[in-house]
């Protein structure tokens, strides 16, 4: 049982009237991993997540969460799954700490509320009514409510939307700790850096489908080649370097004294280049690896034009 995926979505279709929000989406999330569902607004991220949470019934396709049906087995799943909605979910008049304590009281073995409040920087506003909290404080409370019950799996819908950099990093730290403690995390985001920083696995969603899925490294490698640049004496003979490099690599002197090696840039390639430099008595200067970011891949896949 431990080997079956935490979330398995196959051929999911969800329509709202004439509009197809999700159009044959497949997604598999391995247990204990952190998966980022990345996509532009309106790509179908929230609909997919909310179907996994049991809020919507698929029009077609199957969804299994922890091996169960999110709608039919809702009672069994709810204690095991933590949910952070994109917004709202709290009584406007409830105080932050009161609401968190209440959510904890619905669970059998909750996390220590005081520690969690401290950790997410909610101590100062613990007695403030939800409607008077800042957007960032509301987000953090919502995150705390999703994790307080010590779930096996959490769905976080845009957990860092509207957060300032400090709060964003506090959220990232918490999400990393969840993963380290063995919680399976599925989060949606449209921040590439967030996906790149946090995720074991990224699913890029566009037009209601997953158009690419893999580790950030693999996705970044999938696009155009990466490059390595370094400076040295002008006029080096690159022939012997090319012999040492893997077959698909290339090396050129861009401008006198500036060299570029392109190909699959991995630690081995870097080592080959530096040892070649050592053999030739070259001190490589300003050596840098230019990796494609997830943003490049994302824009390459989803197009650069603004969405309506």
């Amino acid at each position: 049982m431990r080997n079956e995926p935490a979330v398995e979505v196959v051929g999911l279709v969800k329509r709202y009237g004439a509009k197809t929000a999700v159009n044959g989406l497949d997604l598999s999330v391995a247990r204990g991993t952190l998966t980022a569902v990345l996509g532009p607004n309106g790509a179908g991220k929230t609909t997919t997540i909310e179907t996994c949470e049991g809020y919507r019934r698929p029009d077609a396709g199957t969804v299994r969460v922890l091996g169960l049906d999110p709608v039919a087995d809702s009672a069994a799943l709810r204690p095991r799954v933590g949910v952070m909605l994109q917004s709202g979910g709290v009584y406007p008049g409830a105080r932050a700490e009161e609401m968190l304590r209440h959510t904890a009281s619905l669970h059998a073995h909750p996390v220590d509320v005081d520690a969690l409040v401290e950790r997410l920087g909610l101590a100062a506003c613990g007695r403030t009514a939800y409607r008077r909290l800042s957007g960032g404080q509301q987000q953090r409370l919502s995150l705390a409510m999703a994790v307080v019950g010590r779930p096996e799996l959490v769905f976080l819908d845009e957990p860092t939307a509207g957060l300032d950099p400090q709060a964003r990093h506090a959220t990232w730290d918490l999400v990393r700790e969840l993963r380290a403690d063995g919680v399976t995390v599925v989060l949606t985001t449209h921040h590439m850096d967030e996906a790149e920083q946090l995720a074991d696995d990224v699913a890029i969603v566009d037009g209601g489908k997953v158009i690419a899925q893999g580790s950030p490294e693999r996705l970044c490698k999938g696009g155009a080649e990466n490059t390595l640049r370094f400076g040295g004496r002008p006029g080096l003979d690159l022939g012997s370097l090319l012999k040492a490099l893997p077959a698909q690599s290339a090396a050129v002197e861009l401008t006198p004294g500036t060299y570029r090696v392109s190909g699959e840039v991995d630690p081995q390639l870097l080592a080959t280049v530096t040892s070649w430099c050592a053999q030739n008595g070259v001190m490589p200067d300003r050596i840098s690896v230019e990796r494609h970011t997830l943003e490049d891949v994302f824009l390459e896949l989803t197009g650069k034009e603004l969405r309506a």
Partner: protein, 256 residues
Amino acid sequence: MSATGTFTPHPGAAPLPRMIRAQAALETRMLLRNGEQLLLTVIIPALLLVLFSAVDIVDTGSGKSVDFVAPGVLALAVMSTAFTGQAIATGFERRYGVLKRLGASPLPRWALMTAKTCSVLVTEVLQVVLVTVIAFALGWSPHGNPLAVLLLLVLGTAAFSGLGLLMAGTLKAEATLAAANLVFLLLLVGGGVIVPLEKFPGAARSVLELLPISALSDGLRDVLQHGAGMPWGDLGILAVWAVLGLGAAARWFRWE
């Protein structure tokens, strides 16, 4: 999983009675903390009771005014909490995603509704105590069978809860706010709360008598003012409203 971290999974729902108790306590705190709700559930009934008992604004027939007004205000108290207050609060909980979020918590929906009912009943107990104390201070001398009174209050609560939840679960929050207040006002005037139904023309009266507020205030008055036995007719009307209202709410209530 070797080491135990803060978040190492250990899921589980709390025992049901604990969840319901916690939810009912939270709902009651939300209600008592809300100024507009307090105006509706405490201040308006208390003011009407004092005003209409002390000053002869409406001809309430023979006997002390308070003996006529107190049962009507008890009925109003039930309506204000079970119908108006519950409809508005639940409507906004739906709008703000509170019901949606609770739907993902271990608390089952029926348990949430049970907790809401508990919170309504707790509020009503506070209201009844307040109204009773004020009415006694104004010289109220109630008669009748306490069991009949209890039965009327419970059936009235069921009838008004059903209608309130039906409204909250089908209309937009703002529409619920407006409609629930309007209905409150109309039923206050046309439901025999402070204006005797005898003041209305015959045709209107026979329709008004079928309203849940009329059945509740009339039943309470029969027992408390006139010392009647079980007011079966009024109990019957309330039971029909309860079945229709709760049934329709169960059928059409939308959680999001």
